[in-house]
Symmetry: D2
Subunit: 464 residues, 4 copies
């Protein structure tokens, strides 16, 4: 079949846009990966049965070998007949083993014992081996960007209005913190995913009949998959651990979206403080040859809009009637797309940030546009400190006057004897920030470094 005949952009356009990453994603999230993980879960079950003494270890090995070679094609062909995906898988496995092994495949299990456990297994692994990896790559890029620009003066902006100065590295450090917190959240949540082997309604009905310690059997099965068993389950594992993990993903996505929005606004023609890298053969617009668009940042924001609302599906899937209804079945199959979307967006953002061009001159030019106004804040602080009874109101009026007369705040101050006298009482060091507003960056540079130090340490621990 032809890739371009697919319906999902994840399976055509975004596959093409990053084939290496896409191939990695498929190892965990494709239908092949799903079936492979379920086959491995079936093998893990037989291994646990062998450990409990019910069957031989040879049988467990035989089933594991069968599980390794099972193909989606044969399972789907069998499902045509059974109309039941796990029964089809079981039949396929049975067909590949000796008669003595056959009865032990899926023994005492219900379908979801296999499916939910396999899902936890896949999501735990994809999180540890792929999601965290790309998130950490981005985190490290952000740390580098923050350090490299720790002292680069930038106008701080609130409401899109010039406020008081920061450094560009400081603004990036904020994202180091926010993304870092998501990395920790996701790591922790992934470790709480659970397996189960509690049967059709969670009460170990079947296994209790033939096994002395069904909880031990379940624990062995879970361990085999690198998981812990759910303390209690219905037919399905409690949905909250996975829900928390996906909240981690979605909230990490939100951080990416915020970075993307910030960067694309800094790339506005009038601002021009940062620029996406642009290849010399690249076309910005099919009709406006001069355009240099922040299309990668827009792309990241756009993916966020596509995936964030899907959290609602996961919240709705918290509800399953009695010992489970199947109404989370189709919807849960789409969950892997959220992971794929997050990884693709993270990788894209990482690549564009790694090569971003920071225009320090533009930052200074923009700063200078409001430099004289910036000192309104320290001026009012210092006046208050010097004993002015209503400093904020006083300065507010000065700024209005400045706007109307075109005089700088400093000029207006010098025209006002009372203010001059008040300020004269202050130490020179404090007056400096009024005379040279570029000095008024507070702890920006220091904080940037501090936050980078903190997260370099924490990321090291996460990587372990």
């Amino acid at each position: 079949m032809d890739l371009f005949d697919n319906l999902s952009p994840l399976d055509h356009r975004y596959y093409m846009s990053n084939q290496e990453l896409a191939e990695s994603l498929r190892e965990y999230l494709s239908e092949t990966a799903v079936i492979k993980s379920e086959a491995l879960a079936e093998a893990a079950l037989v291994k646990a049965l062998a450990k409990s003494g019910l069957c031989s270890h040879e049988i467990a090995k035989e089933v594991l070998e069968a599980a390794k070679v099972i193909t989606p094609e044969e399972v789907y062909a069998e499902e045509e007949k059974t109309k039941h995906n796990i029964r089809a898988l079981v039949n396929c496995l049975r067909n590949r083993v000796s008669n003595v092994a056959k009865p032990w495949i899926h023994f005492t299990a219900t379908s979801v014992d296999i499916m939910d456990s396999a899902t936890s297994y896949r999501y735990k692994r994809v999180t540890e081996e792929l999601v965290l990896k790309v998130l950490i790559e981005l985190e490290e890029t952000l740390i580098k960007l923050a350090r490299d620009n720790a002292k680069v003066l930038q106008m701080g902006r609130t409401h899109g209005q010039h406020a008081v100065p920061i450094t560009f590295g400081f603004s990036v450090a904020l994202y180091v913190e926010r993304l870092g917190s998501r990395i920790l959240f996701i790591k922790e949540a992934s470790q709480k995913l659970t397996a189960k082997l509690a049967g059709a309604v969670g009460a170990y009905n079947a296994s209790s009949v033939v096994v002395t310690d069904p909880l031990q059997l379940e624990a062995d099965y879970a361990t085999e998959l690198g998981l812990k068993p759910a303390d209690i389950a219905t037919q399905i594992v409690p949905p909250e651990p996975l829900l928390d993990l996906i909240h981690g993903y979605i909230s990490a996505f939100g951080v990416l979206a915020n970075i993307a929005d910030d960067m694309r606004h800094l790339q506005r023609s009038e601002i021009g403080e940062v620029f996406e890298f642009f290849a010399s053969t690249q076309v910005g617009s099919s009709t406006m040859p001069h355009k240099r668009n922040p299309w990668n940042f827009e792309h990241v924001k756009s993916l966020w809009k596509s995936f964030m609302p899907r959290m609602m599906t996961i919240y709705m899937d918290q509800i399953s009637e009695h010992q489970r209804d199947l109404s989370n079945s189709a919807s849960a199959r789409f969950t892997g797309e959220i992971i794929a979307g997050l990884c693709l967006a993270t990788d894209r953002l990482n690549r564009v940030l790694a090569r971003i061009r920071v225009d320090e001159e533009a930052m200074l030019r923009n700063f200078n546009q409001s430099a004289q106004m910036v000192i309104a804040e320290p001026l009012y602080i210092l006046l208050a400190d010097a004993g002015h009874p209503d400093a904020h109101e006083c300065v507010r009026k000065l700024t209005l006057e400045s706007g109307q007369t075109g005089k700088t705040l400093w000029q207006l101050i010098e025209e006002d004897e009372e203010l001059v006298n008040l300020l004269a009482s202050l130490p020179e060091k404090q007056l400096q920030v009024i005379k040279d507003p570029t000095k008024y960056t507070g702890l920006a540079a220091a904080k940037a470094e501090l936050i980078c130090d903190k997260w370099e340490g924490l990321i090291k621990e996460v990587k372990r």
Copy 2:
């Protein structure tokens, strides 16, 4: 490549589950379909240019032929270089035509003139040719089901509690109405999708330079694609027409979900009034061989949970800064999935409803469980009609007494001389519904037929 390596269930599992429908969906919604439609839009543009006298009709034909054979593979290969999808398409088209034709390809257009118009073209066509078709098939199945069961007594249920009787056909007729209203809404909305040829910022800047009547050129272009031009646009067409159409889809999906919920509850073990068809080789549960699960209904509900929240993406994409930002680009690529999901769910629901088994005996059995309580309502109505000063309270107490003593309401009435006298004043026809509660179905059967008549007529018109 292997289908099972795909990430999206739409591109593996749900492709396999209904290959015929999936192939139809691909004709409109795959990446191949996207590129094909854009190539056709480019051809439509040259045809409009030819009509305006700017180039020859031979050139238009030449471009059309080129457009017909363009492949996604070549466009993607070219995009590797240009990093711009429409410029890549244009280059590929140029490569396939004579030098004299080259300059006219994409002449005066901006990328989105092509992309948005092609999208409207595809969504209008898939709606008319596919979505409405499957929805109408379901509507006709519902009409048949309603008519076949117009007189089949069923207990009406509110709050999951037995209320007063209806007929099963009546309950289905409600869905005939609701789905019908969505069919009309979708049809109407699809006809409001628009094309545009207004250039990079919607002001016809480029076309104004070289064409006498840019609006006529745009109208010709739109007509060629079976569309009307947007009355005004930025770089993109106003988002509301497509938003309305998708609201139509999503709200139709909600009707399906409601049908599915109703039916699966009617299939509960304790209720057992309807049953999904079950093949003799089909497996209900991998561990409980006796199970007959409403898995298709659950599937439909589950798809709704997966797709409904995506409406939020469309609402967010209403916002595009100034003359457009690209942050709807990736997200809009996923819109086709909603259409695919709706069609798949509709088709699935249609197939299961077409073969649904209605158990009239079970309906009667369930009705009889509360038949004696049902008459509480007509009793209180008739008592009030006969002049009882506080009929509702009187009957409410009788039902409590009935619950405590085990006596039927009718027995309790006969023990109360006042009530007997009051009822004696009523015509026999009115008393009949108290004596035989199965008669107390009001206009249920008649309404069922009336609604079916109405929608048979309206559907005929939609089909025209």
Copy 3:
């Protein structure tokens, strides 16, 4: 009680921010309004009963008088006992009428016959009398703004990048169109809201027992409330008409959010093309006295974020099991908040846009920043028109050269003999847009006027 003890910002802060509008909203959306409308519906029912001959017109009048004076306080006091809101209302009405009238109150009706009809009545009225009114006020402000600025040159922006010029009025006209389309949608949707008097399960069970023509009784009842009856219902009216109306509200809200986003970005310090009005006593920031924030625009965007997701509640409420479950009861009580939010946001936006300050000089200054680059588009168009074989690529390279050398496009053209010759073949009128980029506004001004004409006409019709 104290207003500031309320939990909802709608009932404290946003009440205070616009008391006149808030009072109007309360007339339709408060709990008092809910109960009043239900009492009127009960009166309408008795009037319909009188029309059918079941009771006298005097009784109907008596009930209407009682309905007019009913208070929420007495209904709530009664509900303490009945635990049922409509039974409480009925009891209160009964207490206020003569014995002969008592039995006819609520006769044959189920609670929802009253509640759903009263809701349709309130939402239809609030839409016609309030929502459309404020939306039209905003539309008229937009029309004025578009006309006043129809010829004011502004740089068109895509991706936040300077593209090619438009006029400010043209950019506003786009919103005239989009908001206009929502006004029509909402008007139409509000007219499709329905009443019902079909009883507990929609089958007219009760009314059929005592009335010859229950459909006529229902039609009379609906007419009394200015509504049409639903063609079929369960206990509740089909949810789609209200769903469509709320989609209309939410999508109108999206248009407001887009306007707000555009305007607040145009107010960025570096852009400064528009400004919110600022009173002389107003404080922009508690700490930065010089700040002039687009806080009203931000407020509108913020309200959209608060209310848009609530559409999901309405979509979920499409699902009601069998002849209804009550799980839409509490959620539906919050629907009125969406209306309040939309009205408040619309009014706020209208007030700020009505006094907005447009800085034409800033618009020209920003335009001039990229004026030389703007001509890239017409240049490539004209070169192609003049026969250049690869005009887009040629101009793309010129822009790169311009960026590297600092020379203007025009200078580079004049250095290239081939280009000079090609352009020499073009009529002077076409060359003008290259020589004077401010002329390159296409149909912007004309379209702005055209769209204003169109909507002035349509709004007149809506107002009728």
Copy 4:
């Protein structure tokens, strides 16, 4: 003003429905509470200033006294003039203190230093003092319900179909676990809420000018409010800690919704296993006096539908441009409603579950309906265990035959010599579950107790 004139159901109907709880909610979530907390934050700031030696402790005390008596009315009156809520608050505080104290109020702070810190303070306290309290009450009710019914036989249901047996207590224990996990999540998340005193853009610009150690000042301020400072901030604290907490709320709400759905389905007329308590004067339906509706459970589900989607608002509010835009201002004001909704739903659910009537006879009756089919599962397990080569398929056919012939599975087994022989090889203890299906409950009862033990312990720790 009249309570019933309010727009929000939280401020009229749901205030009335639980006035005691509503009053508690107001202490943390009303506008009065907001302003009070902000005044306290201003006082905490002056206290920190005093600790740093900038002003005297007498001044700090003076400000604290002023903060305690500030009223919303005076702040709103002042805001009329300033158009800025915190500047208004500051002015009001200044008016209430001596001239010497005036300059220190709000000194070096930006509005959001106060607002975000006050919000964290309120949400941390309402979580610890109210939300966790009501959630724990519900948890304890669930534990009691689970223990009381640990051995009460109930049919397990998957897909709404009878599966294999559990105990009612076991099904409740699942919710003990799920709600418990939410309680821990919420507790932990609430402790991560942060304060800030980093100024207008987060860089301590202002405080750096006048204070030696701005970080120490911030830490003192945060400690005063029982919080930790954010490690880095813009104008606002990073949104993720609050986002996580609200995810905790919303996901707890999802657990309530699931309980409510389960219980209302168990109350269906045909199932009748549990019943809401019904007062003798209570009216079930205005027209059907016999109805006993699960209206409280429906109410809880309905509130979930109303509040769950609001999580999308919080996700959208993750995005704030540069050092903040104000577009989260209005939306954030509605966040408290989520808390109120959750508390009201929890309390309602707790009250109805505390008095729920469990009908053990009905549970047994429903179980018996499928008792013979239930044994299909252990039968297939035991056959497989006994060496049957294809036990699942064998039993699946038996169940079909049973359905067609009306014979029980046991009868069919006894007719089949091979099966009889196979089963004869099994120990009597295993056969018991086939002969008496009520024994086939696995570990249900034991697990129920185990989970209750676990959570009783954990809840004790949370309470500490």
